[in-house]
């Protein structure tokens, strides 16, 4: 009974804060409305008995959204919401599409004849998740990790206008790197 009540509480919370993302007119508020939506979803995941996944969603999403708010405000022409801005273009079309998609998905959940559950959840879902990731899906995870890391390195390399020759001279023999901002270990 309590679980059902909590489910509806979090579900409505996630939906309302998700909708606020398109309703509010300040980039900062929009970002934290999105974060609130993710946190409500994380609470639903915890209700499903997946405590680790739920808490990790909170952990990752807070970090992501705080980084995102910095970048979004950097790139926004009108960051502070002092003048109204909208998160969408073509208001009626966007509304019709997003509400329609939500109704279709929700209707699907209600209308589909779900199969009966076979088997039982593992005694320790966190352990089972770790085994799945580090066992049968190890190769996927490794590939994913390397691909992500390569992407990060590549984007940094593409984005920076200074290379090692700028830092250490044409023959790379400078004893101190010529950096615009000094670092903490005195290179």
């Amino acid at each position: 009974m309590v679980t059902v009540a909590l489910f509806w509480l979090f579900a409505v919370g996630a939906l309302v804060s998700g909708f606020l993302v398109f309703w509010l007119d300040s980039m900062a508020r929009v970002t934290f409305a999105l974060l609130a939506s993710f946190v409500f979803v994380a609470a639903e995941v915890i209700l499903l008995g997946l405590a680790y996944l739920g808490v990790v969603i909170v952990l990752m999403m807070v970090m992501e959204m705080v980084i995102m708010v910095v970048f979004m405000i950097m790139y926004m022409m009108n960051p502070a919401g002092l003048m109204p801005m909208a998160m969408y273009h073509n208001k009626t079309g966007a509304m019709a599409l997003s509400v329609g998609t939500f109704v279709a998905l929700a209707a699907g959940i209600v209308l589909v004849d779900w199969p009966q559950r076979t088997g039982a959840p593992p005694p320790d879902p966190t352990f089972a998740l770790g085994q799945a990731l580090m066992g049968p899906h190890m190769l996927t995870m490794m590939t994913l990790g390397v691909a992500l890391f390569a992407t990060i390195v590549a984007t940094v390399v593409l984005a920076t206008h200074r290379g090692r020759y700028d830092r250490l001279g044409d023959d790379l023999r400078a004893t101190r790197a010529d950096d615009p901002v000094g670092g903490g270990i005195g290179r």
Binding site: F32, L59, V62, V69, T126
Partner: protein, 307 residues
């Protein structure tokens, strides 16, 4: 280790408050002694500060984002107490969660959002720079911090804080993972933007993220920051210092004693060392702290595998 009864939910903030009060008083004593005045006046200094902030009028700024501002300010003490839920005191915690370490980290991460919002809210440049500094600092300390947490969890083979304490019945983790312990304490200070890591509230920014806060807002924000420091430091006891284990005295006394000792060192350290600049700390974290903590985690993982 077990869970405390429900009423402990009320006791926890009170206990953390006492810890924060003691820390503030100690900090005030250090300040007064450095100024050459009698130390006795410093004991009531925190009380006077609280009363003064309670009767000070709130500052209002032009075109402030009041919703985010207030949210950020209130979030700081709330997240500190939430992170403290998993702190064991002599064998019982308010909630001995199966994923306690991850819960702790997730709650303290909320400080990123809180300080940024507190910096953004008043619509003031210096305060916003303070918020940005905290995010930069967070990006620098968080990975070493996570590796330090993972190291303790790896050695114990569990994410449950109680399990980590039990795993130290033979040997405290601080003995064979000193790097993780030191990095943990550094990141705990950075998390509570205390000591060398108080650049987000820097004097060069006229108070930074807290610069536009006055009255009760300031009390909640800075008080919450002290709570956060106490919680982060207190967590080092179950993670690395054997929790409540010790001879003769009951477990909770040992927990309190160890926490007080580490807290004293951290407060002294914060007074002793000057504020570190963000670009210096960022490079130090990425080039020195992360490799060191990864090595530490590797050593611990190998020991666990061989054992």
């Amino acid at each position: 280790m077990g869970e405390a009864p429900v009423w402990s939910v009320v006791v926890l903030p009170a206990l953390l408050g006492v810890g924060a009060f003691a820390a503030v008083a100690f900090d005030a004593a250090l300040h007064v002694r450095a100024a050459g005045r009698p130390v006795s006046v410093s004991v009531i200094a925190p009380l006077r500060a609280v009363v003064r902030l309670l009767i000070t009028q709130r500052r209002a700024t032009t075109a402030a984002d009041v919703v985010l501002w207030r949210t950020g300010v209130v979030l700081v003490p709330v997240l500190a107490v939430l992170a403290g839920l998993v702190l064991p005191l002599g064998g019982v915690a308010v909630a001995d969660l199966a994923v306690g370490v991850v819960w702790f980290n997730a709650m303290e991460i909320l400080a990123w959002a809180a300080v940024w919002m507190a910096g953004w809210g008043p619509n003031a440049a210096l305060s916003l720079v303070g918020g940005y500094r905290f995010v930069a600092q967070g990006l620098a300390y968080e990975l070493p911090h996570m590796f330090a947490l993972i190291t303790a969890a790896t050695a114990a083979g569990t994410l449950r804080v109680g399990g980590i304490v039990e795993a130290q019945s033979g040997l405290w983790f601080v003995v064979w993972m000193p790097v993780a312990f030191v990095v943990y304490l550094l990141s705990a200070m950075a998390m509570a933007f205390w000591g060398p890591f108080d650049a987000p509230l820097g004097r060069d920014l006229a108070g930074g993220a807290a610069g536009e806060l006055s009255g009760v807002d300031r009390l909640v924000f800075l008080g919450g920051r002290w709570l956060l420091l106490v919680v982060a430091v207190a967590m080092s006891v179950p993670l690395f210092l054997g929790g409540g284990s010790g001879p003769w005295l009951p477990g909770w006394v040992w927990t309190v004693l160890k926490t007080a000792a580490v807290l004293g060192v951290v407060v002294w350290f914060g007074r002793r060392f000057p504020t570190v600049r963000m670009e210096r700390f960022a490079e130090l974290a990425w080039v020195v702290l992360i490799p060191l903590t990864i090595l530490q985690a590797l050593v611990v993982a190998l020991v666990v595998l061989i054992r």
